[in-house]
């Protein structure tokens, strides 16, 4: 363990906030601490008049490997109310990021799984290096990615979510680019170079005009998720985590075996 924060944030003189998910030893898997940091970070950066744009990236070999399954298992042993609260904070972390009135840019390398795809989908722009690989594999572990479906549908099309959230197949950076989810590809190690002209372009634009334009897109495209819908997504998410299926899925992961629902699996 280290005392370093799980999410780093640095704001430069131009007003570019660089947010780095910082749990490299566990591939930046999210736990309660990461969720809280993102939840509060998105609100704070949105409210900070010096910030003109937010960039999100992962420290280490991967962008974000989804939920920390050990943490998830521990949460699932807690009360129903505690589970709902965890899911509520997870749902709202993504909603806040999606709602941020400033432009947001995700720089993705390596693994981007589960909640990681939600972070990318909630950002306005995604640049990925060619080594990036994606999956929405919650259903493999008996849980469910509900809180990020609205953002994923908007970012990659519901037909792609119907495929990838059900088959749980991995997809490559090139495939993510083809479906429009990723805006731009760059060579491995080239994220900063690829991001520089996009950041420069945003800084050339009227800050209020950019915020007005983002609001217009959200309004016209119906991207808003109201509190009632958010609460419903959170409760569904929590209930699934508490199901017998989730218990079996998370146990099968820990024991590195097929889950009981796979035909022919030794139960």
């Amino acid at each position: 363990m280290t005392d370093e924060p799980v999410v780093l944030c640095d704001i430069d003189a131009r007003g570019v906030a660089m947010v780095t998910i910082n749990r490299p030893r566990v591939n930046n898997a999210y736990n309660g601490e990461v969720v809280d940091a993102l939840l509060e970070g998105a609100l704070a950066l949105d409210a900070d008049p010096n910030v003109r744009l937010v960039v999100i990236r992962g420290n280490g070999r991967h962008f974000q490997a989804g939920a920390d399954l050990k943490w998830l298992k521990a949460v699932s042993a807690q009360s129903v109310e505690e589970n709902i609260e965890v899911s509520r904070r997870t749902t709202n972390a993504i909603r806040n990021l999606d709602n941020c009135s400033k432009p947001t840019l995700a720089l993705v390398h390596g693994g981007c799984f589960g909640g990681g795809t939600g972070i990318a989908a909630a950002c306005d722009i995604v640049i990925a290096s060619e080594d990036a690989v994606f999956s929405i594999a919650e259903a493999r572990w008996g849980v469910m990615a509900g809180p990020i479906f609205p953002q994923l549908n908007a970012a990659m099309g519901s037909h792609n979510v119907r495929r990838y959230a059900q088959t749980c197949e991995r997809f490559t950076a090139a495939e993510a680019w083809e479906m429009g989810f990723v805006h731009e590809l760059c060579p491995v190690g080239g994220l900063d170079d690829a991001a520089a002209p996009v950041i420069a372009a945003i800084l050339s634009n009227g800050p209020n005009a950019v915020t007005a334009t983002k609001g217009l897109i959200r309004d016209l495209a119906g991207l808003e998720i109201d509190d009632e819908a958010g609460e419903s997504l959170a409760r569904g998410h929590a209930a699934k985590r508490l199901s017998a299926e989730a218990s079996e899925g998370l146990t099968s992961f820990a024991e590195k075996r097929e889950a009981a629902w796979y035909p022919g699996a030794a139960s």
Binding site: A139, F149, S158, A165, K240, E248
Partner: protein, 264 residues
């Protein structure tokens, strides 16, 4: 009489529905429509079903709606025409709303209503020679029944091209506009479908139920009852209208319809 839709089910809970009218290139008539809708009702009632595969017998997946079925409308009153149109709409809706994942195995290609069938599926695997066209307008029909699904799948922009032109497009285009999910060589089609099914079986059944339900709920625009109702209105109006009469009669006479005289 044997059913034109063969239903098999394996020990894993995978149901395969094969449209079995190869001589008619698996054209959809009212018997097929009823059989498919009934098969999906059976799936809905059986909690042990884990996935559904839709296939077509013979060299081609589905040529669209049967011309005989279309012609019926010429002798029908408005209510009977509308009831027929609702029957076709009900089949597409049963596929789209199936709570279990649905995979289409597409060999050779899909035309008109065949494109509608696959637009309602979750994963569409096609062979690399498959061809597609949304040809309804060429016989004076409005390709409306697919729109509730096509809007969420290929989107308004591609609908405004491919539904209005009726042009033929290859499988690479079909994949690019998201009508097809995955393209493989013909010899690998069964293996590729088996891989998709295997991936689905690795997933927790209830997780998949909730996943599909939520993703459908957040699909924009939704394939709502209201959308389907508007689509049925437009389809029935076209099917019973003068343009369809002319289009079908031109097809029978192997001549171009009157409106096509300006093109070559």
């Amino acid at each position: 009489m044997s059913s034109p839709v063969l239903e098999t089910r394996d020990s894993r809970g995978v149901v395969t529905l094969t449209i079995d009218r190869p001589a008619q290139r698996n054209a959809l008539d009212s018997v097929v429509m009823d059989a498919m809708t009934a098969a999906f009702a059976g799936v809905a009632a059986d909690a042990s079903v884990r996935a559904v595969v839709i296939a077509g017998a013979g060299p081609v997946f589905c040529a669209g709606v049967d011309f005989g079925w279309l012609r019926q409308a010429q002798a029908q009153d408005g209510a009977a025409n509308r009831a027929d149109s609702e029957k076709l709409a009900a089949m597409y809706q049963a596929i789209d709303a199936c709570t279990r994942p649905v995979v289409a195995r597409v060999q050779g290609g899909a035309w008109a209503g065949g494109c509608s069938l696959i637009a309602a599926c979750d994963v569409v695997v096609a062979d690399d020679n498959a061809r597609f066209a949304i040809t309804e307008a060429r016989i004076g029909l409005t390709p409306s029944l697919m729109l509730p699904y096509m809007m969420g799948r290929v989107g308004l922009r591609q609908v405004r091209r491919y539904c209005l032109t009726g042009e033929t497009f290859d499988v690479e285009t079909a994949r690019r506009i998201s009508l097809v999910s995955k393209v493989v060589p013909e010899a690998s089609l069964d293996a590729a479908v088996a891989d998709v099914v295997d991936a689905l079986l690795h997933c927790a059944p209830d997780s998949l139920l909730q996943t599909k339900a939520l993703v459908r709920e957040w699909t924009r625009p939704p394939a709502s009852d209201a959308a389907i109702g508007l689509a049925v209105d437009a389809f029935a109006a076209g099917r019973g209208g003068d343009e369809a009469r002319e289009g079908l009669s031109a097809r029978d006479g192997a001549r171009p319809p009157q409106w096509a005289t300006g093109s070559d």
